[in-house]
């Protein structure tokens, strides 16, 4: 009887069923869509972070370097000093070329001993240190007559570039502004990361997959072997088996790697053994970043606090902290979801529930005599309440199914359009060490960084000199947003549908229960 009556009511009072189901369907569809979109954005954020910090890294440790005094030469800037007699001069033109490997702006903030401290902290499963370097090759020609006129000796003092280094990925280096009276200069930079060749279970290289050749192993310690990011290798026309010059030293390319996150590059252009990096850059026993895996994921926050105590001057970031540093359209999307999406779905859901409740109440009112009659012929209150609630729940469930359909269509549309979001893992201010790492990824992401190109006037080097401490260095990664469809989404839909149905059914049933059976005897209505 229950089933027959229910079916007859839903079919014969089709309009009410359809309106309630569509209302619920739209709302649930929107919730599914927002939920899935948000999951997609989170995945994209994780992917950006992973490309920078590696897989399995729970905590990164960095430290802000003391900012160099503006204008102070040697404050970390990369100056190229060409002596008067330097360079090969032919036909009145002087050819200059110099390559140097320097620590990126954060400098070397940790000593090896501090890594030992980290490893000794309880709760640390694994820790590794890296040294972030940048290789800069400056080469160019100065026509004889222009040698003294523009740019002098080409000595650029990095300190003057303080704070101007806003890097945006994807461009090409605009070196060699031609205002220099026929001079032609070329500035070539790539990032180099010194890594512990034995310990790749944590840290930036854990987020890569081997493209060609091999990875660095413990046996590579002390050797001039390098692994390249495959996209950098392609753009620089380098390949496994070839060589690359770093700070005047020739390295053998033993392998190339891809980022495991499909849309982003790896953290650095070039990876070399840590000890070699320390020696070549004259930073013996120094590190710029440390990467830590916690023994238990539930203890990450506690561990971060412990590390903070152990290294008071350092900045200790957990993955959650880092997620907040992802900027760009990805962060716009994320806040869009968190704000507009959330409120919109709550609003629409509330509206749909209200519609369901109002329609159910008006339905019960319209059926006053019907329920009165059923009571008069012996139906108990429970049976009538159950009938009303059953109708509402089934209407809600139809809405839930409709919502899944609408949601899936929306998800498919998003995935077909596949909007490209750009995410930048950036740290401003304190997290300068991380910035260095992030910046390398930017370079790898397909273009050199153009930061304030040419503003120096002389040779058009970037203003992002060594003094650019605290500037936002960014790893811009373009990620095609993929909105996942999960079982969670179905559960949400069913849960909301049942909730809406129960709510409307409970209120409608309560109204029906209050009806007096004597209503059946009213001749009108």
């Amino acid at each position: 009887m229950f089933g027959t009556y229910l079916r007859r009511e839903l079919i014969n009072r089709r309009r009410q069923t359809i309106i309630i189901a569509i209302g619920m369907g739209l709302a649930i569809g929107l919730v599914i869509l927002v939920n899935s979109f948000s999951a997609g954005v989170q995945n994209a954020q994780a992917s950006v972070l992973q490309s920078v910090y590696g897989v399995g890294t729970d905590i990164t440790i960095s430290q802000a370097a003391t900012p160099p005094t503006a204008g102070a030469a040697g404050g970390g800037g990369q100056g190229f000093n060409f002596g008067a007699g330097q360079g090969a001069t032919s036909g009145g033109t002087t050819n200059l070329s110099q390559s140097r490997l320097t620590a990126t702006r954060t400098q070397t903030v940790f000593a090896d001993s501090q890594l030992a401290t980290v490893k000794a902290t309880s709760g640390v499963a694994a820790a590794t240190g890296t040294l972030s370097l940048e290789n800069t090759t400056f080469s160019g020609q100065i026509p004889g007559q222009a040698a003294g006129g523009t740019g002098g000796t080409g000595n650029r003092q990095g300190g003057t570039g303080t704070g101007t280094g806003t890097g945006t990925g994807g461009g090409s280096a605009t070196g060699g502004a031609d205002g220099a009276g026929g001079s032609a200069f070329n500035l070539d930079r790539f990032t180099v990361l010194g890594i512990d060749p034995a310990g790749d279970s944590v840290g930036p290289l854990s987020a890569v997959s081997l493209a060609t050749g091999r990875l660095l192993t413990a046996a590579d310690k002390g050797t001039d072997n390098a692994v390249l990011d495959s996209s950098y290798a392609t753009s620089a026309s380098l390949a496994t088996g070839g060589t690359i010059a770093i700070a005047g030293t020739t390295f053998t390319i033993v392998g190339t790697v891809d980022s495991t996150s499909t849309d982003s590059a790896t953290a650095s252009n070039v990876y070399i053994p840590l000890d070699v990096a320390q020696t070549l850059s004259s930073n013996p026993g120094m590190l710029s970043n440390m990467y830590v895996t916690a023994a238990s994921s539930s203890q990450v926050d506690q561990l971060a606090a412990n590390l903070k105590t152990a290294l008071p001057a350092a900045t200790v970031d957990t993955q959650a902290d880092l997620a907040n540093t992802v900027s760009g359209s990805l962060s716009t999307a994320s806040s869009l979801v968190a704000n507009l999406g959330l409120w919109l779905s709550i609003l629409v859901l509330a509206a749909a529930f209200l519609i369901a409740i109002l329609f159910t109440i008006s339905g019960v009112t319209r059926r006053t005599r019907e329920f009165g009659t059923l009571k008069a012929i012996g139906w108990s209150n429970n049976r009538i309440v159950g009938q009303v609630a059953g109708e509402s729940i089934v209407q809600g469930l139809i809405g839930g199914v409709l919502g899944i359909v609408i949601g899936v269509i929306g998800i498919i549309v998003i995935n077909v359009i596949s909007p490209t979001l750009s995410g930048s893992a950036s740290t401003t201010g304190t997290g300068a060490g991380v910035a260095g790492a992030a910046r390398r990824a930017a370079g790898a992401a397909g273009g050199a960084i153009t930061g304030g190109g040419g503003e120096g006037g002389g040779f058009g080097q970037r203003g992002a000199g060594g003094g650019g401490f605290g500037a936002a260095a960014q790893a811009t990664t373009n990620i095609a947003l993929h909105a996942p469809f999960t079982i969670e989404v179905v559960l949400i839909a069913v849960g909301l549908a049942v909730l809406g149905g129960l709510l409307a059914g409970a209120i409608g049933g309560w109204r029906a229960a209050r009806l007096r059976p004597a209503e059946a005897l009213r001749s009108v209505g």
């Binding site: 009571k375 008069a376 139906w379 209150n381 059976p517 059946a520 005897l521 001749s523």
Partner: protein, 253 residues
């Protein structure tokens, strides 16, 4: 239960007179209804309405009673008391061995489901259910198997002459046919009493007589107690006993 109530009408009448004059509750199986000092007041918006005023009344088992009276006199209110639809403000109403005026809602619903059949002036069929399903609603609270429910409902529809209308919706039936479905619904559970509030009030004269023939036929066959509220003297004249209610006071006509 008298198998031939009409032939024993004299006995019944005298018995009933005795009961009216000296109403003693629980007098035995002979009276299906006993009402003692029943008063029902409604608190309308401005004033208190006394719909039943200290009514004492017995209805013997198997009697056919017509209730007449002016509009607003309290006919429907009395029927509500008899039908366990409402409790009196004061006084006692008993049906068989159940003291209706003291029972809770749940128990009253159970008694309505088992012992009381209702027929209404405006038929009150569930518009979305077919004729057969409408009849089945009466058996839904009675823990009857689906197959038995269907069989009994079909038999009931057949007995009111609607064997060919099982799958019709109420809107597809004439007024007389709808009232036949309602009668089948009231009788399918084999109730002890059948209460009808103006069962022919919405029907033309020809259909009225058909319906009355039908009700009277069942009353005779099944020996149930039949109480009919009516404005129509032609209907009232068929009853064994006529009660008149005016301003909440009941008297035998």
């Amino acid at each position: 239960m008298p198998s031939e109530p009409v032939s024993e009408s004299d006995v019944v009448m005298s018995q009933e007179q005795a009961i009216l004059n000296s109403p003693t509750p629980g007098q035995g199986a002979t009276n299906v209804y006993e009402l003692v000092n029943v008063t029902k007041t409604y608190n309308a918006t401005k004033r208190k309405v006394t719909a039943l005023d200290n009514v004492t009344l017995s209805i013997p088992n198997g009697q056919m009673v017509a209730i007449q009276g002016p509009t607003g006199g309290g006919k429907s209110t009395l029927l509500q008391m008899l039908g366990a639809l409402d409790r009196p403000t004061s006084g006692d109403v008993s049906l068989g061995s159940s003291l209706l005026s003291k029972l809770g809602d749940h128990k009253l619903a159970e008694i309505r489901a088992k012992e009381i059949g209702f027929v209404f002036q405006s038929f009150n069929l569930i518009p979305t259910l077919t004729a057969l399903e409408n009849v089945e609603t009466a058996l839904a609270p009675l823990h009857v198997s689906g197959a038995e429910r269907r069989d009994r409902s079909q038999a009931a529809l057949e007995s009111v002459g609607l064997a060919d209308r099982y799958t019709h919706l109420p809107a597809e039936l004439s007024g007389g046919q709808q009232q036949r479905v309602a009668i089948a619904r009231a009788l399918v559970k084999s109730p002890d009493v059948l209460l009808a509030d103006e069962p022919t009030g919405a029907l033309d004269e020809g259909t009225r007589d058909e319906i009355m023939d039908l009700l009277e036929g069942f009353w005779r066959e099944q020996g149930l107690t039949l109480v009919i509220v009516t404005h129509d003297s032609a209907v009232a004249r068929r009853a064994e006993r006529r009660l008149h209610i005016k301003a909440g006071k009941v008297r035998d006509a």
